[in-house]
């Protein structure tokens, strides 16, 4: 196994008298993909914010192997509608090298959005632009807070493919938060199931059968939810256009 980048020991965090994290210990290795899952209010975002240094833990220690550069993709970008900002400007802030910008826009298939206003992007486009911004930092660790939110299901699997591809190209570790287990599992090396404390941790296959996980999420679809099986005879490319041909790898429905 490659060397450890982040080692967090006994992280606890409480705010306004409410315990949000208690005694969380975890590590992240080079080029590893680690997914943190858990219900709402489990402290997933707080843990990420502590790991990137946006918040100080109430107790506990974080040791980084070196001064790490983080590519952070926040859960939500609080863009002010009073700021006119096209995608190209958004990406060029704090980036000296415009060649990098062009290359990454090409890699994530967003060149055509260069002059589009950030305010007019669709959910999937916006996430790809945020990913591009994170990658432009040449990060050691890519930190993604619910990258798939606001992205439709087929877009999600494409987005995860892009994240996986980015990891291979840029040789960075990936730490992401998600509450969607099934899609994330496909690309991830290790899963941490968090609910204030670490419920269980391990390889995707083992987590989904772990008793602690099952008690949290139930034994696949909970009664209130059901799987809707699409019967598409086509699939969409990144721009939402309908394309003929075979299904994506991400699809797992019957036909």
């Amino acid at each position: 196994m490659s060397s450890v980048l982040i080692q967090a020991d006994n992280i606890s965090f409480s705010a306004n008298g409410r315990q949000i994290l208690s005694n969380v210990s975890m590590s992240l290795s080079e080029k590893e993909v680690l997914t943190i899952i858990g219900p709402n209010g489990a402290g997933k975002t707080t843990l990420l914010r502590i790991l990137v240094g946006l918040q100080k833990p109430t107790s506990g220690k974080i040791n980084n192997s070196k001064k790490l550069s983080f590519g952070y993709m926040p859960q939500k970008l609080h863009l002010n509608p009073n700021m006119p900002i096209p995608v190209s400007s958004f990406l060029k802030i704090n980036t000296k090298n415009t060649r990098d910008t062009d290359a990454i826009m090409q890699e994530l298939n967003i060149q055509h959005l260069s002059r589009t206003s950030m305010h007019k992007l669709s959910g999937g486009e916006r996430q790809r632009v945020l990913l591009a911004r994170a990658l432009l930092r040449k990060p050691d660790v890519l930190i993604l807070d619910e990258p798939a939110q606001g992205v439709d299901i087929s877009g999600q699997s494409r987005l995860y493919e892009l994240i996986n591809q980015a990891r291979n190209i840029h040789h960075c570790a990936v730490l992401m938060v998600s509450h969607d287990l099934h899609i994330v599992m496909a690309n991830t090396d290790r899963v941490i199931c968090l609910n204030q404390h670490i419920c269980c941790m391990g390889h995707p296959d083992t987590v989904s059968t772990d008793a602690a996980y099952l008690s949290l999420f139930g034994d696949t679809p909970s009664p209130a939810l059901a799987h809707y099986t699409h019967h598409h005879d086509h699939h969409h490319d990144l721009h939402g256009k309908v394309v003929d041909g075979k299904h994506n790898e991400g699809c797992n429905h019957d036909f």
């Binding site: 002010n80 900002i85 400007s89 958004f90 802030i93 704090n94």
Partner: protein, 261 residues
């Protein structure tokens, strides 16, 4: 009114428009409109304190402004841009009221109307030099920190993870606003300062596609408002500060015609 009496205020006004137009963009982007208004209102108390202490008014304005800015910075909790609007309103209203109570005690004859709405005839050549110097400092600091400030305005968390000292930058913006209030209070009065910050920037928003464009257009619109406003005041014998503000509102209305992108 004689044209020569207007000349210092015209030049000072152009400098004020330059700094308030560019600073105004950041005020809008960071949703600090209420904050700058509070700072302006507190200038009354700053003036009163300066007169009591028998120091130059501008020192009182800057000194007291810094105090208010530091207080606000303390209550700014980071994740939400705006400090509590209730707290801001309390500071604004009570410093205005306290200032009004203290002014009669200063022993100096103070023109309250000039303090509230500005008095361009009181602007001397010395004021022009101070205005020019402070404007230069504001513009240089904004230019120097431009990309960091922009990153801060887009998303504070993102900026912080990219290694930008967000706390320092936020304080910088606060202090630049203090400096602007100190130079603009003579021309516009405490009640009208915010308008020259917000209106040209809001108008510029309609005309620009990038942040840089907006930052360049806002001061130009502010300068047009100053020139036209003072011309109106000169030819129609109107109050200069209000004339400038109404002119900038007209410009904003004109810009509304353009479809926003």
């Amino acid at each position: 009114m004689i044209f020569e009496l207007m000349l210092p205020s015209l030049i000072a006004g152009l400098f004020i428009a330059l700094s308030s137009g560019s600073l105004g963009c950041f005020v809008i982007w960071r949703r600090m409109a209420f904050f700058s208004d509070t700072l302006a209102h507190s200038a009354i108390l700053g003036t009163a304190l300066a007169l009591i202490a028998e120091i130059q008014v501008i020192y009182g304005l800057i000194g007291f402004g810094i105090l208010v800015a530091l207080t606000m910075a303390k209550f700014d909790n980071g994740r939400r841009h705006v400090s509590s609007d209730t707290l801001l309103a309390i500071i604004a209203q009570s410093s205005l009221a306290l200032g009004m109570l203290l002014l009669p005690l200063t022993g100096t004859q103070v023109n309250i109307e000039a303090l509230l709405f500005g008095d361009i005839l009181a602007i001397s050549w010395q004021d022009v030099f101070i205005t020019a110097a402070i404007t230069t400092v504001i513009v240089i600091l904004l230019a120097f920190n431009w990309s960091d400030l922009l990153a801060l305005c887009i998303d504070e968390d993102l900026a912080a993870t990219e290694g930008i000292a967000t706390k320092r930058l936020k304080l910088l913006l606060f202090l630049l606003l203090v400096a602007l209030v100190a130079i603009a209070v003579q021309m516009l009065g405490v009640l009208l300062i915010s308008s020259l910050l917000l209106i040209p920037a809001a108008a510029a928003r309609r005309l620009s596609h990038t942040p840089t464009q907006m930052l360049c257009i806002a001061p130009v619109l502010g300068m047009i408002a100053v020139i036209c406003g003072l011309a109106l005041a000169y030819f129609l014998n109107l109050a200069a500060g209000p004339a400038v503000v109404v002119t900038s509102t007209m410009i904003w209305l004109l810009c509304l015609i353009k479809k926003s992108d």
